[in-house]
């Protein structure tokens, strides 16, 4: 077999507790987004669009739906002759079993997997970020500057900077300092949690870190500072596009609603950097004689007899006659019954809004109404 130059390891085990009811049943990367997608589609599509066809996906929190969604990776063309998707949950060994304890620990526990492929470089990704990026450009850069580690960074405002891992760099973008969530940021270059490591360097660092009892086994807190101390070649790669960490209900709502703009940050219609997904079979959507649709995204299988305005309706959503859905995000299989009003709300998969029920409010500063999966709202 040909040697793989670069593989991706995708961290998808996080709970995403700040997404509240949306992640009660499913891992954050598997949360529905933009109608037909799930959040992880963006990272997986970036991989295949960057010719990276071997992806290890580290799962831990409620993995069932995520696992079944990813399957063998064929939805993203990741099932080719040389490619594969491997789902990598924590496992038992002769020394006992343990969960993934930190981002670096998750990769450390899968050294065998990476060794079996023996790539030159390893790309570390998060399954819960929204962006379109050609990782190949970053890899080219990593090779050109001869880095041991390249960190993808984005310029943020000084106010936001204390939420991120912040990099100080010299003129050649050589990283001189890395601080996780600094109170007084020295720079505005924030880490996007996307790393390219030269595998031999990462391998050694992971093994050393695993024996350090004080370590939190985290890339930002431990691995990167250690490599800096060892004076390894760490470089920043500045990403100029749109990037969003879907951390909270508000940011989830905003990122979704952005797609409704005439000129959204992420162009899902762009054929060059396509976003793939694992589509299920459903008929085309149907707008009936009493239906009205304005400024919205609609997926297959929807049946609309009510009014839908400025909303995103995922697969197989039903909006009955007299119902009104405004400024809302309805996840797959939601049923809005006759006369119900849904305003500025996020409704989880399979939930039912009963006839004449009123959910959410259009009042300014009103909190986004949130209904979890498979609930009935009366």
């Amino acid at each position: 077999m040909q040697q793989k130059e670069c593989i991706a390891m995708l961290l998808a085990g996080g709970q995403g507790s700040r997404l509240k009811a949306l992640t009660k049943r499913i891992a954050k990367p598997a949360v529905s987004f933009g109608g037909k997608y799930r959040i992880i589609d963006f990272a997986l599509s970036n991989c295949i669009n960057s010719d990276i066809n071997t992806v290890g996906i580290l799962t831990q929190y409620k993995p069932y739906l995520l696992n079944s969604y990813i399957g063998n990776g064929e939805g993203w063309d990741l099932d080719g002759l040389n490619g594969q998707v491997s789902l990598l949950p924590p496992y038992f060994t002769e020394e006992g079993g343990s969960w993934y304890d930190g981002t670096a620990d998750a990769i450390f526990k899968n050294i065998d997997f990476i060794d079996s492929i023996n790539p030159k470089y390893v790309l570390i990704l998060s399954g819960d970020h929204l962006y379109k990026m050609d990782y190949n450009e970053m890899l080219k850069y990593h090779k050109k500057v001869g880095a041991d580690l390249t960190v993808s960074v984005i310029n943020v405002s000084i106010e936001e900077a204390s939420r991120f891992g912040i990099m100080s760099v010299d003129e050649e973008l050589h990283i001189t300092k890395f601080t996780e969530k600094p109170k007084k940021p020295e720079s505005t270059l924030a880490s996007m949690g996307i790393y390219i490591f030269t595998w031999s360097v990462l391998r050694k660092a992971l093994i050393e870190d695993s024996t350090d009892k004080k370590s939190e086994h985290d890339f930002g807190k431990n691995i990167i500072p250690n490599l800096l101390k060892e004076e390894k070649r760490l470089y920043a790669y500045e990403f100029k596009g749109y990037w969003k960490d879907i951390g909270t209900i508000d940011s989830y709502y905003e990122a979704n609603m952005d797609l409704l703009k005439d000129d959204p940050h992420i162009d899902i219609f762009d054929r060059d950097m396509r976003i793939y997904s694992n589509s299920n079979i459903s008929p085309p959507h149907f707008v009936g004689s009493t239906g009205k649709v304005e400024k919205s995204l609609l997926c297959n299988g929807c049946v609309i007899d009510g009014k839908v305005t400025n909303s995103i309706l995922s697969t197989n959503v039903v909006v009955e006659k007299g119902a009104e859905v405004t400024n809302s995000i309805l996840l797959p299989n939601v049923h809005v019954k006759a006369g119900a009003k849904v305003t500025r709300a996020i409704v989880g998969e399979g939930s039912v809004i009963n006839s004449k029920a009123k959910l959410g409010s259009s009042a300014k500063n009103a909190e986004i109404a949130l209904i979890g999966d498979n609930e009935v709202y009366k």
Partner: protein, 365 residues
Amino acid sequence: MEKLAGLISANYNDARFGKLTAHRPIAAVPFGSRYRLIDFPLSNMVNSGMTSVGLITPHLYRSLMDHLGSGKEFGLSRKSGGLYILPGSTYGFDLGKGKFSIRDCKGNMQFFERTRFDRLVMSTCSKIYNIDYRDVEKYHLDKDVNVTFVYKKNMDGDVGDIVIDFDDRGRVKSIRRLKKKEKKVNLYLDSTLIDKNVIIRIIDWYKDNSYMDVIEAIAENLGRLSVAAYEFTGYARSINSVKDYMDVSRELLDSKVMKELFMGDRLIHTKIHDAPPVKYFESAKVKNALVGTGSIIKGTIENSVIFRNTCIEEGAKIKNSIIMQKCFIGAKAILENVICEKGVVIEDGEVHKGTSAKPIIISRD
């Protein structure tokens, strides 16, 4: 275990489809926003648990192969069984009548000999309905017959369709072509369930008259075979012409029809494009419409079927029309009773109006 396999004939044509079949077989005619006609018989077969399906190809089969690929989307890309592509004959085929020639079966005897099955469902691609062939098989076994036809009562047919007559005791008396102006008949739905040894015998009997249709061969031998007819009671339609195509497409806009055909337990499978959701802009107005994914809608749509990846610009008005895949409808264009073939570009302000009896077909060439 007893096995049911499927065999679909796509090797026939009909001039009444006009431009719609200029570059594609009837089986590959796009239908219902995201399907092609072959999706219906093929989905019926796989939804009835069949894992081996043969497809007799027509002469122009590029679009058909592009659509079906390895049969993956129908669960037919398998180690055991799967989708068998059976080349149909190209010369001397009587285009007027038959849809399922003995010759095409004869030329693909390996399918009958090598595929593991006990009974076979033979179907064409000209009828739209959603059926569970396991019910037909149960009926076939209960009646203890060799051949079971699927039919629907009180249906209007067209030239070329086949009618089943029963005697006083409800047994199949004759199978014949529909007479002109005949209405409300027991219309044969182009599906036959037949025992393996019987179909192999019939092919052998008629190998020298191989231009004949399998159904005609069975009809000639009603006395020698035990034959029954299974009544299908759901929604079923024939598509034999542009007019039928337009009428049945419009019927899909009846939500009862839509739900029965597409939203029950047995889904109609098709090639997945994985296009983005449909984006409606503020200026969009849509009423009574089916819309395929990947479309961008800024104009007005009424009583129409819109296929995938179309773009309808602001001020455009589309009424009683069918707009196929990848069409671009310019601003303020007006289309009424029109079928826009795949990839057609309608310039800003263009106006095309047909009538519901005679829709205009606009194609790229």
